[in-house]
C-alpha cells in the first residue's frame, strides 16, 4: 500500500499548495482513495482551473438558449417544442497513444453527454488535426483515428455528417480529436444532473467496471514526454454495441417518470459523476462499491472510483420505479445495480468490504477547487507581409492548392463514416458548407459545422478566435440556416507558460466579440490544455492554438437548404469585399513555403450584414448554390463549387486593381459565392443593403475558364483534388 503524502500527491498531479488545501479540508491525511478523488476532481480536465476565469467572459445567453454551459451539454430551442442538445469534446491525448480506441471512446463519450440529457443523438461531427503528412507517424494516426471514429459511430447508428481536417507539423506528437454530437429532445423531457430526494437510490447501469482508464483525466492534464507509449494503460477501450443498447435503454426509461437525475460516467468515472450529481443537488451520497458491477476481480476502492471504463451511467431514481427501470435494462441485457443512496450529510462516503474508504465533504471539494488566473504574455504582432510575386501562375497555383493537404478532397475519410443511417441526412459531407439533417417527423432541419483556422490563431489569437466563430456562422448561413449557438473545444498548449495563456485569453476575447456581434452564444464546450510534446532534448513543441467551434443552426424547412454545387446556365456572384489578403494564406504556404504575415482582418458588422442578406436571399428561393470563401480564397472556392456541381464556368471579371494572384487566392473574410439566375438583380439588392457585389461569370461547360482565356478542365481539378488522401493512406 502506498503511503499518502505530498510526494504521492505530486505524482497524482496536485501541487504543494493544492495538497495543503486538501489537508485543510480533510483535517487529516487522506486515504489513497480520497487522494485519488481530489486529484481527479482538481485536475485541469475536470476543474477547468486555468480556464474558468476566461470562460466566464463568453456570452452564453439568448432567448433561444434553454441550458448554457454547466450541464452535460448545451440546449437550444429549435421550435415546435423541440430542443437541440449538443457539445464537442476532445480526446487528444488518448488518440496519440492509441489512435483507434482514443478516437472511438471520444465519440462514445460525447454521445453519452448528449443522450444523458434525454436527446436521441441525430448527428456526429469531428474536428481532426494531424501532424505533417511527411511525418511517418501521421499515416498510422490518421488510419487509427478514422477507423476509430467510424468503428464507433457506424455501430451505434448515428450518422457522421461533417467535420474538418488539418495537417500541420505542430500536431506531430499531439493530434487533436474533437468529437461533436447533436441530439434532439422534447423541451419538456430534458434531464439534468442535480441529484435530489434524500434516500433516493443511486443506480449504476451499463458496462461493468474494469481497471481501464485509471487516471485518464490526470493524464489528459499533463504534457507528453518521450514515454507517452508507456501511458497506454490509461487509455479506455470502447464498446459501441453496449453504447447502442445504453442509448435505447436510457431513452426508453426517459419516456417514463422514473428518473430524478442522470449523468454519464465520463472522465474520472464514478468519482466525477457521483460528486457532481450530489454536489449540484446540495445533498450527500453514500456509495457501496461491493454492489458495483465489476469485470475484474480484486479491484480496490481506489481503482473503482478512478476507473474510466466506458458506457456507464449513474441515475438517481424514484424508489417506486426501481423495478420497472430494472426490467428495461434487463430487456437490453445491461447491468443494473443500486450502488448507493442520497443522504443529508453533504459528504460523499465510499464503502468497500466493510471499510469506509473515503469520506469527503462535497461543498469544499467543489467550492475550494483551485482557480488560477495564470500569468499571460502577449504574442508579438505578426509583421505585415510585403508585396508577393507570383512564381507559378494562376493555373498551377490552383491545381496545387486544390490538391494540398488542407483543401484536398476528404472523400477517403467520409467514405468510411456512415453518413446516411437514420434516413434524415439532407446534405452529406462535402455537398454543402454545413451538413443538414432533418428532424424525423417534422420539416425542421439542423445545420451543423465545425470550424477553426489554427494558423490564423497562431498569428493573431484574438482575430483567429473571432474568425473561427465567424467561419462557423458563415457556413451555417451558406446553407440557409439561422445560426443559433456554439459549442467550443479549446485546444491549447501548457497554460503554465504565459505566452500560451496569453493566446488562450486572446482567443477567448476574440470569440466573445464575434459571438456577441453575431448573436451566437456559447452553450457548451470543453478545454484541452497541455497539448505539448517534450522532445528528447528537453524542449517542448506546442500545437497551433486550436479553438475549434461547433456551430448549430436551424431551418424551418429542411428542404430550403442549398448546397455548393454550381448549376448549369446561371450566373455566379461574389458578395463581400476583396482586398487580396495573402498573409497566412494557403497560397503563401503552398507556393512560397511561408507561414507568416497577418491573417486577414475581420469586420463583424459587415459579416453580420452580408450573412443576413445571403440567408434572406437563399430562403427567398433566388439562390441555387452558395459557398463561403475560406482556405485558398476565391478561385479555390469557385473550383470547389464547379467540382461539386460538375459544371464549369467562364470567368469574366471586371478589373479590380489587385494583382491576379492576390485577387484569386487572398483569404479576405466575410465573402460568399452565390449561384443565381439574375445576377444584376442580386447585385442591385446587395448594393442597396450596403454590400459589395461583383459578377464573376456564367456557368456551363466542363472547365474553369480564366479571364486570360486559359481553361483548366474539371477532370484535371478533380484528379488533383482526389489524389492526396489515397496517396498518403493507400500506398
Amino acid at each position: 500500500m502506498k503511503t499518502v503524502d505530498q510526494g504521492l500527491a505530486r505524482e497524482f498531479g496536485l501541487t504543494a499548495d493544492e495538497y495543503a488545501k486538501l489537508l485543510g479540508i480533510m483535517g487529516r491525511t487522506p486515504s489513497l482513495t480520497e487522494l485519488g478523488i481530489f486529484s481527479v476532481m482538481w485536475s485541469e480536465h475536470c476543474s477547468y482551473k486555468s480556464s474558468r476565469v476566461w470562460l466566464k467572459t463568453l456570452p452564453t445567453t439568448a432567448p433561444w438558449v434553454i441550458h448554457g454551459p454547466g450541464e452535460n451539454a448545451g440546449v437550444v430551442d429549435i421550435g415546435q417544442g423541440l430542443a437541440a442538445i449538443f457539445k464537442m469534446e476532445s480526446h487528444n491525448h488518448p488518440s496519440f497513444i492509441e489512435p483507434y480506441q482514443g478516437a472511438a471512446t471520444g465519440v462514445g463519450g460525447i454521445l453519452r453527454d448528449v443522450f444523458t440529457m434525454g436527446a436521441r443523438p441525430v448527428a456526429n461531427l469531428n474536428a481532426l488535426r494531424f501532424g505533417s503528412p511527411e511525418n511517418p507517424n501521421t499515416r498510422r494516426i490518421v488510419d487509427g483515428v478514422v477507423r476509430g471514429v467510424g468503428g464507433y459511430g457506424n455501430c451505434v447508428g448515428v450518422p457522421t455528417v461533417g467535420g474538418e481536417i488539418n495537417f500541420h507539423p505542430s500536431y506531430d506528437g499531439n493530434p487533436l480529436v474533437n468529437a461533436m454530437t447533436v441530439g434532439v429532445a422534447r423541451q419538456d423531457r430534458i434531464f439534468l444532473s442535480a441529484a435530489a430526494g434524500i434516500g433516493n437510490p443511486v443506480v449504476y447501469v451499463g458496462s461493468r467496471t474494469g481497471r481501464d482508464g485509471i487516471h485518464g483525466a490526470t493524464m489528459a492534464s499533463a504534457e507528453f514526454d518521450e514515454d507517452a507509449q508507456a501511458k497506454r494503460p490509461t487509455v479506455q477501450v470502447g464498446d459501441p454495441f453496449v453504447e447502442k443498447l445504453l442509448i435505447e435503454a436510457c431513452l426508453e426509461l426517459m419516456a417514463t417518470d422514473a428518473i430524478v437525475a442522470i449523468q454519464d460516467m465520463g472522465a474520472a468515472g464514478l468519482t466525477s459523476s457521483s460528486v457532481e450529481m450530489a454536489g449540484k443537488g446540495g445533498v450527500g451520497i453514500d456509495l457501496d462499491l461491493d454492489a458495483v458491477p465489476q469485470r475484474e476481480t480484486g479491484m480496490t476502492a481506489y481503482e473503482m472510483m478512478l476507473s474510466e471504463s466506458q458506457e456507464r451511467m449513474l441515475i438517481v431514481i424514484r424508489p417506486d420505479r426501481a423495478d420497472m427501470a430494472r426490467a428495461i435494462f434487463d430487456k437490453w441485457e445491461l447491468d443494473f445495480a443500486v450502488i448507493g443512496h442520497l443522504t443529508d450529510t453533504g459528504h460523499i462516503v465510499v464503502r468497500h468490504q466493510g471499510r469506509v474508504e473515503a469520506d469527503i465533504p462535497l461543498a469544499p471539494l467543489a467550492d475550494e477547487a483551485p482557480l488560477y488566473r495564470r500569468p499571460t504574455a502577449p504574442s508579438p504582432a505578426p509583421a505585415p507581409l510585403g508585396a508577393m510575386h507570383d512564381p507559378v501562375g494562376i493555373e498551377d497555383a490552383l491545381v496545387t492548392l486544390i490538391g494540398c493537404p488542407d483543401i484536398a478532397s476528404r472523400a477517403w475519410v467520409w467514405d468510411q463514416y456512415d453518413s446516411t443511417v437514420g434516413g434524415q441526412t439532407v446534405r452529406r459531407p462535402g455537398a454543402a458548407d454545413a451538413a443538414v439533417v432533418r428532424i424525423e417527423d417534422t420539416t425542421l432541419g439542423l445545420a451543423l459545422t465545425t470550424d477553426c483556422t489554427p494558423r490564423y490563431v497562431a498569428a493573431d489569437a484574438r482575430l483567429g478566435g473571432a474568425q473561427a466563430v465567424a467561419e462557423a456562422w458563415r457556413n451555417l448561413t451558406a446553407v440557409g440556416a439561422r445560426p443559433l449557438a456554439v459549442t467550443d473545444n479549446l485546444n491549447f498548449g501548457n497554460p503554465e507558460k504565459p505566452e500560451v495563456m496569453g493566446q488562450f485569453a486572446d482567443a477567448i476575447a476574440g470569440m466573445g466579440e464575434a459571438c456577441r456581434a453575431l448573436d451566437f452564444p456559447v452553450v457548451s464546450g470543453n478545454v484541452s490544455l497541455y497539448n505539448e510534446t517534450r522532445q528528447p532534448d528537453g524542449s517542448t513543441v506546442s500545437i497551433l492554438p486550436t479553438p475549434a467551434i461547433g456551430g448549430l443552426g436551424v431551418l424551418e424547412d429542411a428542404g430550403s437548404a442549398i448546397g455548393i454545387g454550381l448549376k448549369d446556365g446561371q450566373e455566379l456572384v461574389l458578395l463581400g469585399a476583396t482586398a487580396g489578403a495573402l498573409g497566412q494564406s494557403l497560397w503563401l504556404r503552398e507556393i512560397h513555403g511561408r507561414e507568416d504575415g497577418a491573417p486577414p482582418s475581420l469586420d463583424l458588422a459587415a459579416e453580420r450584414r452580408t450573412g443576413d442578406f445571403v440567408r434572406e436571399r437563399i430562403l427567398s428561393g433566388a439562390v441555387s448554390a452558395c459557398h463561403d470563401l475560406s482556405d485558398g480564397g476565391l478561385l479555390v472556392g469557385i473550383a470547389e463549387m464547379a467540382m461539386a456541381g460538375e459544371v464549369g464556368i467562364k470567368l469574366d471579371v471586371p478589373a479590380s486593381g489587385i494583382s491576379p494572384h492576390a485577387y484569386w487566392f487572398g483569404e479576405d473574410q466575410g465573402r460568399y459565392l452565390l449561384c443565381v439566375d439574375d445576377a444584376a438583380g442580386l447585385i442591385e439588392r446587395a448594393r442597396r443593403a450596403g454590400i459589395e457585389a461583383r459578377p464573376l461569370g456564367r456557368t456551363g461547360g466542363d472547365g474553369l475558364t480564366l479571364p486570360s482565356g486559359a481553361t483548366i478542365s474539371l477532370a484535371r481539378l478533380r484528379t488533383a483534388h482526389r489524389a492526396f488522401f489515397p496517396a498518403l493512406m493507400d500506398r
Binding site: N154, C155, G157, F241, L245, Q416, T420, V421
Partner: protein
C-alpha cells in the same frame, strides 16, 4: 401490406426501413423484438441493417440464432416473404436461408458511399418495380459486404436466375461476380447489401430506392 421489422440488440436501421415501408404502404410496420417466438399475421418480414450483437463474432452470426429466427424460418417455409438488407442479408446467410457469405470488404475498410445497382430480373415481388437491366443508386454502409460462395454455388445461382442485384459501376467490396443481392430458390427471400430504404425521399437526394417498396406494396395488394 402488413410488414414486420425484426429488431435485434444493435440493429440501427430499423427506423429508416420503417419510414420507407410506411411511405409506400401508408401503414406503419410492426416492430418485432428478437426474443419473440411467434410472428403476427404478416405479408413480409424485414431484417434491417445494423450491428446485431455488435457483430463481434461474425456479422449476423449471433442474430441468426435469436429466438425469433425460428419463427421467421417457419414463416418463410409457409411461403412468407423475407427481405434482409445489409446486416439482415448477413443474418440470412448465417441462418442459411440464403446461400453464400459476406466477408470483410476487399479493401479492408468500411465503405459508405452511393453505388449503382443493376436489376438482374424484374419478375419477383422484390424487383417488380423495376425493369430487368435497370440501374439505380443506393447508399452503401458496410464493412463486411464482400459476397462469397464456392464456384458451383455461384454457377447455380446464375443458372437459376437467383442473382437479384449486381454492382454496376465497378465492384466496391470485391464481391464474387459483383453480386450485391441474391434470392432464395423460391424467390421469396431476398438479401442485399446496399440500402434502398435510405433513398426514398427527394429531400435525401433521390427516390432511387422507392421501386423496391412500391413494388412490394403492389404485389401484396394483388
Amino acid at each position: 401490406m402488413k410488414a414486420g421489422i425484426v429488431v435485434f440488440p444493435g440493429t440501427n436501421r430499423e427506423r429508416d426501413m420503417a419510414i420507407a415501408l410506411k411511405g409506400a404502404s401508408g401503414r406503419a410496420p410492426a416492430m418485432l423484438w428478437h426474443r419473440e417466438t411467434a410472428l403476427p399475421d404478416l405479408d413480409l418480414v424485414v431484417l434491417p441493417g445494423g450491428f446485431s450483437h455488435g457483430d463481434y463474432l461474425r456479422s449476423g452470426a449471433m442474430a441468426a440464432h435469436a429466438p425469433i429466427m425460428r419463427a421467421v424460418r417457419d414463416f418463410a417455409a409457409r411461403g412468407g416473404y423475407v427481405l434482409g438488407v445489409c446486416n439482415g442479408f448477413q443474418i440470412l446467410t448465417e441462418a442459411q436461408m440464403l446461400p453464400g457469405a459476406l466477408l470483410r470488404n476487399a479493401g479492408m475498410r468500411f465503405l459508405s458511399h452511393d453505388c449503382r445497382l443493376r436489376v438482374e430480373r424484374a419478375d419477383t415481388v422484390f424487383t417488380r418495380g423495376w425493369s430487368q437491366g435497370d440501374q439505380f443508386r443506393a447508399p452503401m454502409a458496410h464493412g463486411d459486404g464482400n459476397y462469397a460462395a464456392d464456384p458451383d454455388t455461384l454457377d447455380r445461382l446464375e443458372g437459376e436466375g437467383r442473382v437479384a442485384f449486381r454492382y454496376a459501376d465497378g465492384n466496391p467490396n470485391g464481391s464474387a461476380r459483383a453480386i450485391a443481392g441474391v434470392f432464395s430458390d423460391d424467390l421469396r427471400i431476398c438479401g442485399l447489401m446496399p440500402h434502398p430504404e435510405d433513398l426514398v425521399d427527394p429531400l435525401m437526394g433521390g427516390i432511387d430506392g422507392k421501386p423496391l417498396f412500391d413494388g412490394l406494396v403492389e404485389a401484396f395488394v394483388q
